[in-house]
Symmetry: C2
Subunit: 577 residues, 2 copies
């Protein structure tokens, strides 16, 4: 059977950085060529990064993207990679509008280009706003193997473009993807790709983007499956990786150059022959290339680390600062920041007020020591006192001014030293609005914004156990994990004064927010009506605060932020009846 060596370039582009992404593609294609690959497949829109959002509407950006594609083809040829058939993604634009496009490059030229057919418009996706759908399929013959391509969402359609390729006849399908991470998404991908390979009657090569972009993180998890659905290769998650696999293929002897009709989905197929001669038989690579998926906790931790690291670095920062309160949230953020950036780039600030307990200060200092972060103590009592005295503040106004004084202090240090400020709030707080706007909500990024409080504790325990297993110092002080949570904005204050127990609260939120369940469902699930009322009311009223919160890495479908949006002015109250 004819052989081909295929490389999947699971890379981390930066949105908008056409020059940088071109250089990245040249470098990884060079590595693919060195490994002897005949074909290399990059992720969806690899030239522009994904998602480009409103850059799609800038005609100058689309022109520059098209130009960068031609330049890339030439540079690949100049770099001696012209014989490697290179699949990349880019932003195109024609008279109909912007296009989410992929192209095949060979010997210095664009030999095929194709537009995405199915444009997702749910969750984080708004592609029906941005792009016009494609209507054609391009098949390229290399060494006698007919290779079809589809882009990301095209794979999720039964009887869609992949079925059309199968009907028309192809020997291999390649699919550039930018499929954002969600918890346990890898469990969906493999069966899907396997089903689609069966529909095509050919092996399927699925390359996914890796890395963080604003609130999205891409996990990679690139795959190759055989026509029979067997998993042949799988890249590790959350790292750039060149996955190289040898395939034994069946040359279908399909039609040659020119257009071929396809009666399925009415999609015309255009064929181009680059070479008919099979590759001479060669010994396939022998190393194993099927990476195991990470455990659930390791996967989430990696997502949060990579999301944070890329947000900091891609925005031109090298260091972060935030309050070390002694509590669990800031401790987990600190452990993430150290894993992402190294202790030397993390600047912890203890900002005690007169209500801060001794253990808070001790635990904060202990945290800094454990993780090797910079650490300073800046009391806020003097700032708070001026406000309280001048304005005669009491109650909530006095509580808030403490949190806000800390936010201003961190921003001042950011202005002085160039650190990015992190907001350390969790998803539970965000859901119910248990935070101070311009206070603890201050920052450019919120690492655990999409992690419920009970999950924060789980991650802390998991990370400490990992450290023990590796013979390292656990980063998070045990006391920060075990003590009752408190904002320490009033004497003896505890979170449980204002909120239901976190285990109960997270259970309700899981049903109400993640599950979109209603009042009757919540009662049926056994929650007390009074508690439901209280929680639902808090959630429905907190939209303004949620919108003002910094972005943070999304790990679930129902992350607060871009893809979930309630009206601010909203008189709806979930009802009993």
């Amino acid at each position: 059977m004819p052989q081909l060596r295929i490389a999947l370039a699971q890379v981390n582009p930066t949105v908008g950085d056409l020059d940088g992404n071109t250089a990245l593609t040249v470098e990884w294609t060079r590595r693919a060529a060195e490994s002897g690959a005949h074909v290399v497949v990059f992720p969806e829109m690899s030239q522009t990064g994904y998602p480009v959002e409103d850059l799609a509407f800038r005609a100058t950006f689309a022109q520059a993207s098209r130009k960068s594609l031609d330049e890339l083809a030439r540079r690949l040829d100049d770099a001696g990679c012209g014989e490697v058939l290179t699949y990349v993604g880019y932003l195109d634009q024609d008279e109909a509008g912007p296009r989410n496009a992929a192209a095949a490059l060979f010997r210095g030229e664009v030999v095929a280009k194709q537009y995405k057919h199915h444009l997702p418009n749910y969750g984080v996706f708004d592609e029906q706003r941005y792009f016009k759908p494609g209507t054609e399929l391009e098949v390229v013959r290399l060494h006698g193997i007919d290779i079809g391509m589809v882009i990301c969402e095209d794979l999720w359609q039964d009887g869609g473009p992949v079925a059309a390729l199968g009907k028309a006849g192809v020997d291999l399908v390649v699919a550039p993807n930018a499929s954002p991470y969600e918890r346990s998404k890898d469990e969906q991908r493999l069966p899907l790709v396997a089903r689609r390979a069966a529909e095509a009657g050919a092996p399927l090569v699925y390359t996914n983007q890796v890395g963080g972009q604003d609130d999205l993180v891409f996990d990679g998890d690139s795959l190759v499956v055989g026509a029979d659905g067997e998993l042949l290769a799988r890249a590790p998650q959350f790292v750039e990786h060149l996955l190289v696999v040898d395939l034994d293929l069946v040359s279908g002897g399909h039609a040659g150059d020119g257009d071929t009709g396809s009666d399925l989905a009415g999609l015309p197929v255009r064929r181009r022959v680059l070479s008919d001669e099979p590759v001479p038989a060669y010994p396939p690579r022998t190393e194993p290339v099927v990476s195991e998926p990470l455990s659930d906790e390791a996967e989430v931790w990696s997502a949060l680390v990579v999301g944070l690291r890329d947000y900091v670095h891609k925005n031109g920062f090298t260091s972060v600062t935030f309050g070390f309160s002694g509590g669990i949230d800031s401790a987990v953020c600190a452990a993430l920041a150290v894993d992402a950036l190294g202790g030397d780039h993390v600047y912890g600030v203890s900002m005690p007020s007169k209500y801060s307990s001794a253990h808070s200060k001790d635990d904060a200092a202990d945290l800094a020591r454990r993780i090797g972060a910079h650490y300073r103590v800046e009391p806020v009592e003097d700032m708070v006192k001026v406000y309280v005295d001048q304005l005669a503040l009491t109650g909530l106004a006095e509580e808030n001014i403490q949190a806000r004084t800390r936010g201003m202090l961190l921003m001042a240090l950011s202005n002085l030293d160039g650190h990015l400020v992190l907001a350390t709030g969790n998803k539970t707080e965000l859901a119910v609005g248990y935070s101070t706007i311009y206070g603890d909500a201050v920052g450019g990024f919120a690492p655990i914004k999409d992690v419920f409080k009970t999950h924060v504790w789980q991650l802390a325990r998991w990370r400490n156990e990992e450290a023990v297993n590796r013979g390292e110092t656990p980063p998070i002080p045990e006391n920060s994990i075990t003590k009752p949570p408190s904002a320490e904005l009033a004497p003896g204050q505890q979170d449980s004064d204002s909120l239901p127990d976190y285990a109960l609260l997270d259970d309700i939120l899981d049903d109400y927010v993640e599950g979109d369940r209603g009042y009757a469902d919540l009662v049926a699930a056994g929650f007390e009506p009074e508690t439901i009322d209280r929680v639902v009311r808090m959630v429905d009223r907190a939209e303004y605060k949620r919108r003002q919160y910094p972005p943070g890495t999304k790990i679930t479908f129902k992350a607060f932020g871009r893809d979930r949006r309630l009206p601010i002015t909203n008189a709806w109250r979930e009802r009993k009846a």
Copy 2:
């Protein structure tokens, strides 16, 4: 010719307030009945308010909306309005998903319901995320007149549902709308509605929502045109209004009850006969009902006043507070706030620092006197000093802490007294990022967020002239209009130190932001390359600040906010070549 009296109920519902909106509809239908109307037409989704955003995904909300529709039908009948054919909008849901729906109510029952066919998915609209499109048209015969309906965007389609109604045969078309205000949008509406009436071969009744909802404001401007395109009636903008008009109609003698095919657009038409007997001839109303559109400045001012008033009131606030700096932006916000809420609900705060000029303090006090607002002086020097001394702040860090200290002070007053804080920044500042996050960007609402700086001056002059014409005191101190703008965060600082002249800057922004033009276009328009570089770079880097800004009334298609979104992590730079 048969007559019918039609009422257009241009009302201001609140999103999510099903009970309140039901009461509103009963009250306005009662008024329509009192005026002798046979038909009353409410806006799109009048039961739920528009837009409902992610409430569309809450099954319990859709159920409550459907239930409220049935209840409304009964309550109308109980109120003696059962004989008035009442068209309302609501959220429906069936097995396919959520629906943007309209219904006709008569004698206590829902006699027809129809789903929106064309779902806009551009600008502020995301309806393809939320709704499934309709596939049927409902025609109701009242007093021998066949009445078809379409919903909002259905009107914008040549050869769409209106053409299908025309082909099938109707004597009148009613169209509930929720069409957000944009500058000079009324110039588009009338020709469009006239064209559509010609396509239907029947008069067309266009009822639009009025009032503010988050960053949107609806101007009303409800219309009736004859089959020949003649404007027969027009409601005033930006106020609730019952527009009553008598129409002489042609009874087409179309098919009766049951389904009728339509070969145009393949849309089946379902007909229902309520009554065949024409209304006995009666003397039509004689008062003129064609309101003149407002002037451009009056229209924008009204949009900003209504947007602000409804945001404050619909969110449960009665009063606002913000910094009176003596500058033009806060002066215009103050004049808007007084027009929206009355001087007794406006709380101005002068917050001088050591860099504040004497004229700033005088102009702020003068403003308060002119508009009858509450006014207090709260120096920020003591707060600033603690930060500057403790952290050794200089330069930008020292400038920012002044702005932030003011933001915190306003939030403390808000916490004490329950005022909503307004952010007074304008669109020019927002475009180039010339503001301090957590400083002057603090607030729940930003009244002039979508108004360029040069336009702010224009509005100030216009508002003062209006006052003079009415024999009132001009609200805005002349000095605030004429003096050079300054943030007063450093000795002798002026905006012109950091920014190009505002006239030039707004010209470039108009081309780059509103016009989406590229570098080459800007050069061709005669701008200096150095200035283009400087402005474009500022705009492209300010996305994070723009996203953290409070919502504010949108008056242009390219308002910053929901409908415009660049990546935060964005390495794209507009290029010379």
